[in-house]
Amino acid sequence: MWHGIDMCSLVYSFAFVPCACEHQGIVDDQFTQLRKLEDENSPHFVMEVASLFFEDCEKLINNMAIALEQKQGVDFKQIDECIHQLKGSSSSIGAMRVKNACIAFRSFSDGQNREGCLRCLQQLSHEYSLLKNKLQTLFRLEKQIVAAGGSIPRVH
């Protein structure tokens, strides 16, 4: 079960990834708090929430992209709603950069600035990818640890 060094490095990485993420501002304390919520009753809480988030975020980004593409006129109200929702969910999960990108985005959407919005959307996409990447790494590690017979170190 224990693969010696492998497990150690897995666990180490597992602990490290969130730290690095937080350090880089990809996630903030909220994420840490969520991780703290994980326990025997809800062992995969963070993973579940993150999955929901990925799904939601992708959908919203997609909707916004479509809205911004509309030749006949961009529905900024819809975009604003998307941003609002994304801001809420990203802040709930602790995706700080994504959240900040939303905030910046909002001002452009308020100003009905299509170009600005497109740029923001791009930025937003980028941040999202970054986050997704990191989190998936984290989850992968988690699975590996569990698969290797170890137990997930909990945050306290």
Partner: protein
């Protein structure tokens, strides 16, 4: 925790209650699945029993099925199927459950709207567990006023312990508040499930039920002593009621004072508003711009509330929420009055309250035009009693009551004036909201208690209740005491007004403003009938009270002020009032109303800010009742306009805020700032990975 959670959750009512706040049953509503899930988990971590739904409509259905199944509702503001504020209102009106709003945005405007619609609290996403750990206090607050037992204030205090609002006053206030409601509507089950069980946080504590009779004794005792000189001990002695403790009286006094203050402040505000429109307090301005507040302008004045509307107004639902004792008594009265213009009815109760400034009443003779059809008549009759004449005062004569109530309506639903069931209130007051629709049908349901006219009042009461109950804060501060006296005296309506304010600041009784205004009012009110108006009219005075009480032009002014406040609160369509208000408010001094809005804001920020509640209170009292809030100005507008132009016209917000809201504003600003700070984009542009980033960790 796991086990506890389970127990707490599974036991539901029983288990939860015994170990309250563990097991408190929360209904969480949010269309965003991520937020909902996170919220659910956080709540579970706090050991609450959580039910979730991502649709407001479903939530409403679940609540309607059995209101007793839940203790608290947390809802997002932005939802696709229904506006969060609307849900807030409905829940407040129908089930009288504490509702906490959630939002990703911290717009002052939204927060204010939440408050004016009756939210107990307004949280920003992401919600932290620390914040959720204390939400149970809102349940306690709401339940407090509900007292089934006899006088026994001491216990109440204890129950408050948790919330931090301690002191006999708080509990007493709650009692009073609940009493009020109880008096008003038997069927209203605001604290429906409370009946079943005591406040979970404490053992059963008998509460004093401030019946009309009791309140009447109280008011007469206060009048005998003189509002300023009235101290609980002496009042108690004069009243000579067995089982009544000094604490009971003290808290009731506090509420009363607040009530009166609110009444007067409303009038003042209106005056001030007119004068200071847009100049003074930016916050007011802000407020004005807020949904509800904008309407103030339109409010023409107390007279706005068409008598027709008044009479037909079915306080019912709206008033249901009125908790404040003052409101209660007033409510009862107002309702009587309003309902069918049973002036008689109104008279009696009002008289009971003490002296309702005669001036006020007579001034508002125009029963017709005023908000409360029924009320005007009675009010006039009541004239002696200033207290109940909130409306009268505000309306300047016509619908003293109407506006008193109206003030509350600002919230939009206050359509006080029972104006033919059109409580314009729609705007924001959750309480009112219901009432509006209900009025026509007398949907006693929503409002439960309040009689038609009272509806308006009830609205007020609601807010008041909220404040009173929830935040014994203001009571505690003792500010209310003075106000109550005057408030009560003003008229039955005041109670409404009070409630109104309460609604706004769910727990934040606009202590400062209200008290000031109330006290101011009370002092003035106590005097001869005419005094009331005069006192009220003193814009200057009003200003003192945090700038809320715009004693504006005595009778008229006062009402106006109050009205103004209300207007602000209602925000909605108050524009009509504005026009009128200006006229009447010649005094235009401190428009109390302004404080209203301010308060709301502050309230949001500072939980304990009672000021806001003051406003609502005032609003209600100041016969604003301009139901127009919802844009229904129709009945009320015409009525109120005539009477209390000043009431509504001015944007109290601006005027008042200056003084009283200062602190509130600051608080708000700081809150907003902090929120903004948090949101400061932290993009560090560091998209790449550091050396030790992911690459290295894998």
């Amino acid at each position: 925790m796991t086990m506890e959670e389970k127990l707490g959750g599974s036991n539901g009512e029983d288990g939860g209650r015994d170990r309250f706040p563990i097991g408190m049953r929360v209904l969480a509503v949010d269309d965003d699945p991520i937020c909902l899930k996170v919220l659910e988990n956080l709540l579970r971590k706090c050991q609450y029993h959580v039910t979730t739904t991502n649709q407001a409509i479903t939530a409403l259905k679940m609540l309607r099925e059995n209101r007793n199944r839940y203790d608290l509702v947390i809802s997002d503001v932005n939802m696709p199927d229904m506006d969060g504020f609307k849900l807030l209102e409905l829940v407040g009106l129908e089930m009288d459950l504490p509702v906490i709003m959630l939002s990703a945005h911290s717009d002052t405007k939204l927060v204010m709207k939440g408050i004016t619609h009756g939210a107990c609290d307004y949280l920003l996403k992401p919600v932290r567990i620390e914040e959720l750990k204390n939400i149970w206090q809102h349940v306690v607050r709401k339940k407090k006023p509900d007292s089934k037992d006899q006088i026994n204030a001491s216990n109440q205090d204890k129950s408050r312990g948790g919330t931090g609002e301690t002191g006999p006053t708080s509990s007493s206030s709650d009692q009073k508040v609940s009493k009020k409601r109880k008096d008003q509507s038997e069927d209203e089950d605001e604290e429906g499930d409370d009946n079943g069980h005591e406040d979970p946080s404490t053992q059963k504590k008998p509460r004093v039920v401030w019946s009309v009779e009791l309140h009447r004794k109280f008011v007469s005792a206060v009048n005998q002593l003189g509002l300023e000189k009235a101290v609980p001990k002496k009042i108690l002695d004069l009243m000579n009621v067995d089982g009544l403790t000094r604490e009971n009286v003290a808290s009731h006094l506090q509420k009363y004072r607040l009530y009166l203050k609110r009444l007067s402040s409303v009038a003042t505000q209106q005056a001030n508003m007119v004068a200071a429109l847009g100049s003074k307090d930016p916050s007011y301005l802000r407020m004005g711009s807020l949904d509800g507040f904008g309407d103030f302008r339109t409010l023409t004045g107390p007279g706005r509330i068409s008598s027709a509307s008044l009479s037909s107004y079915q306080p019912g639902g709206l008033f249901g929420r009125l908790n404040s004792s003052a409101a209660l008594s007033l409510r009862g009265i107002s309702s009587g009055v309003i309902q069918s213009g049973h002036s008689q009815t109104l008279n009696n109760p009002i008289n009971g309250f003490g002296k309702i400034q005669p001036a006020v009443v007579p001034a508002n003779q125009n029963q017709n035009g005023t908000l409360f059809q029924g009320i005007p008549t009675s009010i006039n009759q009541l004239s002696q009693n200033k207290p109940t004449n909130h409306f009268g005062e505000f309306n300047r004569g016509n619908d003293p009551n109407a506006f008193g109530v109206a003030t509350n309506f600002q919230d939009a639903r206050v359509t006080v004036g029972g104006s033919s069931n059109t409580l314009p209130v729609s705007s924001g007051n959750p309480l009112l909201l219901q009432s509006n629709t209900q009025q026509t049908q007398h949907s006693g349901g929503a409002f439960g208690n309040q009689p038609s006219s009272l509806g308006v009042t009830s609205l007020n009461q609601e807010p008041f209740d909220m404040n009173v109950r929830g935040s014994s804060n203001f009571l505690d501060h003792g500010r209310c005491s003075e106000n109550w006296q005057s408030a009560v005296q003003l008229s039955s309506f005041p109670s409404n007004a009070l409630s109104a304010s309460e609604t706004f600041s769910h727990e934040q009784l606009p202590s400062n403003n209200l008290q000031e205004s109330i006290s101011w009012t009370s002092s003035h009110l106590s005097s001869s009938p005419l005094d009331l108006s005069s006192s009220m009219a003193n814009p200057a005075n009003l200003e003192d009270s945090r700038g809320n009480i715009s004693q504006v032009g005595l009778n008229n002014n006062v009402i106006q002020n109050i009205d103004y406040t209300t207007k602000q609160q209602w925000g909605d369509s108050r524009h009509d009032y504005n026009g009128n208000m200006n006229n009447s408010f010649s005094r235009g001094d401190s428009l109390v109303p302004a404080s209203g809005p301010m308060m709301d804001q502050s309230n949001v920020i500072s939980d304990k800010m009672n000021d806001v509640s003051l406003f609502s209170q005032f609003s209600g009292d100041s016969t604003y009742v301009v139901p127009h809030l919802d844009g229904e100005k129709s009945a009320f507008d015409t009525k109120s306009r005539s009477n209390d132009d000043f009431l509504f016209e001015t944007k109290p917000q601006n005027g008042f805020n200056q003084n009283s809201f200062e602190p509130l504003e600051n608080i708000m600003m700081s809150m907003i700032k902090s929120d903004q700070n948090n949101e400061t984009p932290l993009m560090d542009g560091e998209f790449g990975f550091d050396a030790y980033s992911l690459g290295s960790c894998i």
